[in-house]
Symmetry: C2
Amino acid sequence: MAGIKDVAKKANVGVGTVSRFLNNSGYVAEETKEKIRAAMRELNYTPNELARNLYRKRTGIIAILVPSISHPFFAAFLNYAEEALYAAGYKMMVCNTEKEQNAELEYLDMLNRHIVDGVITGVHTLDIEEYQKIRKPIVALDRYLGDHIPVVAVDHKEGGKLAAETLADNGCKNVLHFTGTTAVGSPYHQRHFEFNRIMEENGIRVFSYELEWNRMDPGYYQREVKRIFSGSIEFDGVFAVDGLAIACMNEALRRHLRIPEDIRIVAYDGTYLTDVVEPKVTAVVQPVKDLAEATVRLIKDMIDGNEICEKQVLLKVFLKQGETTKQGAVQK
Amino acid sequence: MAGIKDVAKKANVGVGTVSRFLNNSGYVAEETKEKIRAAMRELNYTPNELARNLYRKRTGIIAILVPSISHPFFAAFLNYAEEALYAAGYKMMVCNTEKEQNAELEYLDMLNRHIVDGVITGVHTLDIEEYQKIRKPIVALDRYLGDHIPVVAVDHKEGGKLAAETLADNGCKNVLHFTGTTAVGSPYHQRHFEFNRIMEENGIRVFSYELEWNRMDPGYYQREVKRIFSGSIEFDGVFAVDGLAIACMNEALRRHLRIPEDIRIVAYDGTYLTDVVEPKVTAVVQPVKDLAEATVRLIKDMIDGNEICEKQVLLKVFLKQGETTKQGAVQK
């Protein structure tokens, strides 16, 4: 197999010139570049990427950690992130951390071992201290991991406000409100505080249910929802993440309740699930494509050594009108 | 930073011994290993993975190509594949090829450039010839790419049979049948031939619709389904992939048709979407976890240099009884 020396000889230039060309690490005249390219073509020379990476201390790989690859929100995030990374010349490595506590630590260690150039993390199972030790490109999706790690998230406070106002404008008096555990530090929780605040302001009663963090399987949702509907609580509104909101809607339909006449529903996240079901669910939408693109932009800047001025990137949410609330209720 | 020489000195062994230990490339006594480990701990030595990979010509990375990361079937496949790869000591790189024709070729080239050790591909946009040129670990998910590339798929013929028999046993006389384009060589298509054969055998009329390959967005499905329901065709049964089957069900519900009394529906794939909607959809299920695990087992064997006896691994499908067909119809 042809090597770099053969290419240099064929192109009639020095080995250092070919190396500079391959690693894009110094000036090479355009004319010389053309000669090197021609020699590479002629010799069918493939640079050994491993050797090049060793020299550059770059692999062009970004790892993304998510609690579950198949969850609709994270699946969409990964889909858009991969597109943005690909466009920027990066490959995406994906780790599902649901299964193992160790995985998060292992991937952070891969930063030190030069296997990946950066980590985008949508999980957080470690002590914050583990993150404090690392001075490498890390961007957090919707998690607080320390002052030096930028966070990309939507304005969840606004999200909670939109949901609360929609249910209030729909005349709800008693509302079911599902929250994840607040033990994990995430901007995500802000929607709950704002939701409850506005409900209280409007004299609307809120029944709060705290569900397990990172438990997102339909079976679990359906069991919990059935239990609540079978209980003694009376309610006319629901605010919950997509999967739970849909489970509530289905349980209501099975009990021949009318939607939105008897129960109004607002989902949070607004993944495509809310469009697949019938009736379509009114939802506060996280712009997942924008989240993915902002995250990729930040990690790229960090790798390139650009100064990161933004400690937190907050993106706008919006209300997608479905058929589980009355139309036009919040057109303010 | 400590290097391999420092570790050797501290452990009082030769550099070659440390190298053999790190690369797992020859005999090192257990006692010696312990001394090396202790020295590494003491010196806080992190092996440079790039240098090790260069030596081993292995990166421990497997690339998986799918048409869309966020499609429920592929999202579930990736989730399980990542778990199986992780358990086997591999990391997963993911590429969504929907966006670019080039991506497939680029990832195959990464095999040659020693960036990935193997490729699992659930896509096929290239000429078969491109694959013929490559003698590296490649496993195909549900695609025919050439004699030397093993295929993992479910028994789609059996899947078509299950669907046909279910609709026949439910008394259907006129059935809508959606197919993808048959221009791409995939075992997937066999379900259509078998479905049509059994329908004909039973004197059931089939209206076939060929949809665009790899178009899987809910909006496209909903438009096509609306068009067909608005047409002059009368039908009492539907056989389609999950998303389309659900779109048909929703359109039927909007038109106040009763399910399963007026229209019986059998979905193909049986992703969690069929459990999220109300009523739950009867489905022929592809065991996606088994598919992922079989694919990972094969790619691992190929990388390890084991002889692959199986040119094709066919897994069983099964019928998941939902509420869109009558119960017990196919308990044979």
